[in-house]
Structures are given as structure tokens and as C-alpha cells.
Homo-oligomer: 146 residues x 2
């Protein structure tokens, strides 16, 4: 039996926040946007439709929980939710708090090299406190902190 | 009681394919990519989390049906699924068949003006036959053709 292994690019670009029923919850290391990544802990999945229907439903619930946490913590102007995977095949979902004042607005956050600036890493002490706040917000939804 | 009215930009940029339980299904008028838009026929919704949980589940099912139809008809290299709404507030979900050979790969399709080309409308006779094929594919999922 194969075990789930997080894609190495996702691992390098994100911090662990914790584990939900289906997904690993990660924080994108980009201080420009509050940006969560949900990675279903399943082997060899690249599309939402690769998941059985019950897990698609669970994925929607976890997307919803992550969205609500970002809305509560950051009061964004808009949430952006996406499963793209053109660069990293392992199924992962972006949940991003967007602001009219952010540097990419109204464009999507992806596409550095298309006129967008570069990813700006968090100072490590900032990432830690942010991860704690997000984890605390999601504990009622069953998050087990990393 | 307010009735659902499709956003005028969505209406202008897309063709009607039909109606699912929750969503209006539309074809983006962009011949560069097989690109569906799902619009939940609900008033004053801009985020997935604005929908009640049962309708979030239904939305996931309809995203899944639209994804499977594109996969069957076009055999894409990747599906891109996104709820953005930075430009059009009315809740709508993009379901796009992507190909390694398409003009935006591996970037997202959004962001014309960031180095991307412009939307290329279908010749009307092409749109009609494509809409028919997509509608036929989704009839077992309950689509009522427009």
C-alpha cells in the first residue's frame, strides 16, 4: 500500500498548519496574501473528480471551513478558490483572501513573470503566530494542529 | 421576492447550455479553451460559503459533472476549477479543460494584459455544435437544455 507523501514543491513553498479529516492544511509562504492550501491526503490524485463522491463532499466542507476562517481572521474583499495543478500535479486547492488593495487585484495571484511581483516570504516569527491563529480558528472544525 | 438574474458581463461573454439543479451552465465564448461556467441560480451570492451547506454539496456535484463532461469530450491534460469573482461579483465557477499545447500553459487562463493573448470568439456555427455535444453529455446528470 502506498502512503501519502506531500509533493516536494508544495512542501517547500508552504508551512504545515495541521490536518483535517481529508486534507493537510498548509499556509503558503507568501506574505502578500493570506493563502491556504488544502491537500487531500490521498495517493495519486490530481483532479477533484479522482476523489470518490463522498470525499468530494468532504473536500467542499473543508474548503468552506478554510474560507470561513480566512473571512473571520482577515475580512477580505473576496475569496479566491482554485484547483489548478498545471505546475504541481498533486491535487491541491488554493483558498486565498483577496483585497482590493493587494498587489495583484483584480487579477489572480498566479502568474509571476506576467507582470506580477515575486513571492515575499514571511519573517519566521510572523509565520508562527499566523499559523497559530489559523489553527485555533479551525480547531472547532476538527483541525489537528501540526 | 427577488429573482435570479444572470450578471450582464457573464451573459455577454458566454452562451447558455442549460440548467442543472442548482446552476446555470454556460459556455465561455473563447475558442482557445473548452471553458464552462457554472452560475448558482441564487440571488446575492458572491462566495461559495454564502450558499447553505446542502447547496455547497450540490455545487460540488455539478462541478464534478461538468468536469467529467469536459474530460470525456476533450481528454485534457488538466482541469482548472476556480471561483474567483474579482471582476464579476456574482458567484460563478470556472471549469476549464487545459492542454500542454494551449497558449496559456502552464499559467492560468486569466490575466489578459499580463502577456496573455485575447479571447477569441467561436464562429457561431461552431459554438452551436459544441453546445449540443456538451448538453448531450450532461443530460444523464439532469441538464435541461437551454
Amino acid at each position: 500500500m502506498q502512503h501519502f507523501i506531500l509533493d516536494s514543491k508544495l512542501e517547500n513553498d508552504t508551512y504545515a498548519i495541521g490536518t483535517l479529516s481529508l486534507c493537510e492544511l498548509r499556509l503558503m509562504d507568501d506574505a502578500r496574501f493570506p493563502w491556504l492550501i488544502l491537500v487531500p491526503a490521498r495517493v495519486n490524485m490530481s483532479e477533484i473528480i479522482d476523489l470518490p463522491e463522498a470525499e468530494q463532499t468532504l473536500l467542499m466542507r473543508e474548503i468552506s471551513c478554510a474560507s470561513t476562517a480566512l473571512k473571520t481572521l482577515f475580512a477580505p474583499d473576496k475569496l479566491n478558490i482554485a484547483a489548478l495543478g498545471n505546475q504541481v500535479k498533486q491535487l491541491h486547492i488554493h483558498v486565498i483572501a483577496r483585497f482590493i488593495s493587494d498587489e495583484a487585484w483584480p487579477n489572480p495571484v498566479w502568474g509571476a513573470g506576467q507582470g506580477m511581483g515575486q513571492r515575499a516570504s514571511y519573517p519566521p516569527h510572523m509565520a508562527g503566530s499566523l499559523i497559530d491563529r489559523i489553527a485555533k480558528e479551525l480547531m472547532p472544525a476538527g483541525l489537528k494542529a501540526a
